[in-house]
């Protein structure tokens, strides 16, 4: 499903002393099946933007078109939009409330008024995607570890089988192993089902590793939009916005300054490893 955003504006606390324009004339097109990374400094409007995509916040002006439905038009059932556009908030484990893991994940599908066996199927599928074992299905979500809670909460959104999945810093506060596991699962999902994924992250490494296209926001505006390797060449521009490039990019830049001739397209550790091994082999020959 495609997402088209046209001239979106949004202001927090309009008419008060605390008025703040969070989004200014945002326009963006996302094709079906893209894996998008959304980066920006804290307060740049990322979270505000993604909440408009599934209709939780209504813009002051502008349009959001999902597929061929302009979602803020009169008569559009926002609940059906929210089933197609799954949104995983920051620290999603704070939304858990049910007695058992299974029931909590079933909350979304139940709200969709699905048949019981369909709900069962979806819940089991979603929990298996995030790697929660069957032995935990009947335990209380509050007895799980932090990482497991996070997975259960993500499964709660996956169980609705959205065609677009938006994740707001899904790995914040997780250990390195946990974050790669979760992001790998999401990447698999993206590849096998072809769903559109928008990943909001502060980790440039994660962006470099998983994402095809990066959208950079600053002060409520989209400042850059392009392929990962192109965006991460703009070190100075990103730093001026309080962002950075992956550490690997810094390494490559430093090496090039000292006479090496490495491609600036390299943004992940694996790519750097390959390039350096080839280079060293060539030198030793």
């Amino acid at each position: 499903m495609s997402i088209t955003i046209e001239n979106l504006n949004y202001t927090y606390s309009a008419d008060t002393a605390f008025k703040m324009q969070a989004l200014k004339q945002i326009s963006l097109t996302i094709k079906p099946g893209e894996f998008i990374g959304l980066i920006g400094h804290t307060g740049s409007g990322k979270s505000t933007l993604i909440q408009q995509i599934n209709g939780i916040l209504k813009p002051d002006s502008g349009k959001v078109i999902i597929g061929d439905i302009s979602i803020f038009d009169k008569g559009v059932d926002l609940r059906s939009i929210r089933q197609k556009v799954g949104l995983v908030f920051q620290y999603p484990e704070h939304q858990l409330f049910e007695m058992t893991v299974f029931k909590d994940v079933a909350f979304g599908p139940t709200n969709m008024k699905l048949q019981d066996d369909e709900i069962n199927k979806r819940v089991k599928h979603a929990l298996s995607i995030v790697g929660i074992e069957e032995s935990l299905y009947e335990s209380s979500p509050f007895d799980l570890s932090g990482g497991q809670k996070r997975r259960v909460a993500i499964a709660g959104v996956l169980a609705m089988m959205p065609e677009i999945l938006i994740l707001d810093e899904p790995t914040a506060g997780l250990d390195p192993q946990g974050r790669y596991e979760i992001l790998d699962e999401i990447q698999n999902l993206h590849k096998s089902l072809g769903i559109t994924v928008i990943l909001v992250s502060h980790s440039m490494e994660d962006i470099a590793r998983y994402v095809d296209r990066v959208v950079v926001m600053d002060k409520g505006e989209i400042k850059m939009d392009g392929l990962v390797k192109d965006i991460f060449k703009e070190t100075e521009a990103l730093e001026a916005m309080g962002l950075a490039v992956p550490q690997v990019s810094y390494l490559i830049q430093a090496l090039n300054k000292h006479g090496f001739n490495l491609s600036e397209d390299i943004v992940t550790l694996e790519e750097a490893k390959e390039a350096l091994i080839t280079l060293l082999k060539r030198e030793s020959e």
Binding site: H94, L96, F97, F107, M112, V157
Partner: protein, 266 residues
């Protein structure tokens, strides 16, 4: 969604009233409220109205913003007016509507009660709108201090109030967040009857309670880690100090009260 609640909200601005010491403002509000109960007449209420308007003008806060606070208690005000209008016993019948009669006494009471209520609320919202919560509790603590001799835990009361006030916006934000997260999972908070609505609150209330307990726990731990052990011997960053504005404010307050008392006995 729920950020529209204005009661108890602070409106930052630069004005004479904002500059006043919190103790001055608390005393001022207290005596203003008291004055509304001392004397009921057109002249005194006119005077109170003038005084309140002057203070509101001095705060530089838009009147519209102030009136917004009244919206949430509009029903209470209307109820007070209507009940007093119809149920006050009196002799001079002005109008009869079926079984109900409006007497001139009823009209009078309804008018006084209504205006009193509105002025009470606006008067106290002037206090909270112009005083940041932290300064406000500092003021309360200072005013309660003399009562420590009779074992009133002034510092503890003030600290509890500070924490409670501090937590209001956090809890509102948290509610907003959880609500959105559950909406994203297809929750429905609006439709259905009373029971269905109450049930739909469970996905909101359970996480809210859990996070409140977690926050309270964290805060207690953080305070303890910084050696908090009550008010004894505790110094503060911002000492309360009366300034020249406060002197004038007290003088004006005195004048206002004297006029009120004089009017009472004429």
């Amino acid at each position: 969604m729920i950020r529209d609640i204005t009661i108890g909200q602070f409106y930052p601005a630069k004005s004479r009233i904002h500059e006043l010491d919190p103790r001055t403002k608390i005393n001022g509000t207290f005596f203003f409220i008291l004055s509304l109960f001392i004397n009921q007449s057109l002249i005194t209420y006119g005077l109170a109205f003038l005084a309140l308007s002057a203070v509101i003008m001095a705060t530089t806060i838009p009147v519209r913003f102030m009136l917004k606070g009244l919206k949430s208690i509009f029903i209470i005000i209307m109820l007070t007016i209507v009940l007093n209008l119809f149920l006050t016993p009196g002799t001079t019948v002005l109008l009869t509507l079926g079984r109900f009669t409006i007497t001139s006494e009823g009209l009078q009471t309804a008018f006084y009660m209504g205006t009193r209520l509105i002025m009470l609320i606006i008067g106290s919202s002037v206090l909270t709108l112009t005083t940041s919560p932290i300064t406000l509790t500092d003021g309360i603590e200072a005013l309660l201090k003399p009562l420590e001799r009779i074992k009133v835990p002034a510092h503890e009361i003030a600290m509890m109030m500070t924490i409670a006030l501090r937590f209001i916006p956090i809890l509102l934000e948290e509610t907003d967040k959880i609500m959105k997260a559950q909406l994203a999972r297809g929750a429905d908070f609006e439709s259905g009857g009373l029971i269905k609505k109450a049930r739909s609150m469970v996905p909101l209330l359970v996480p809210l309670f859990i996070s409140s307990f977690r926050r309270a726990d964290d805060l207690a731990l953080a305070m303890e880690a910084r050696c908090y052990r009550g008010g004894e011997g505790r110094t503060r960053l911002k000492q309360l100090k009366y300034k020249k504005v406060d002197f004038w404010a007290y003088n004006i307050l005195m004048l206002y009260l004297i006029i009120f008392v004089v009017l009472r006995f004429i």
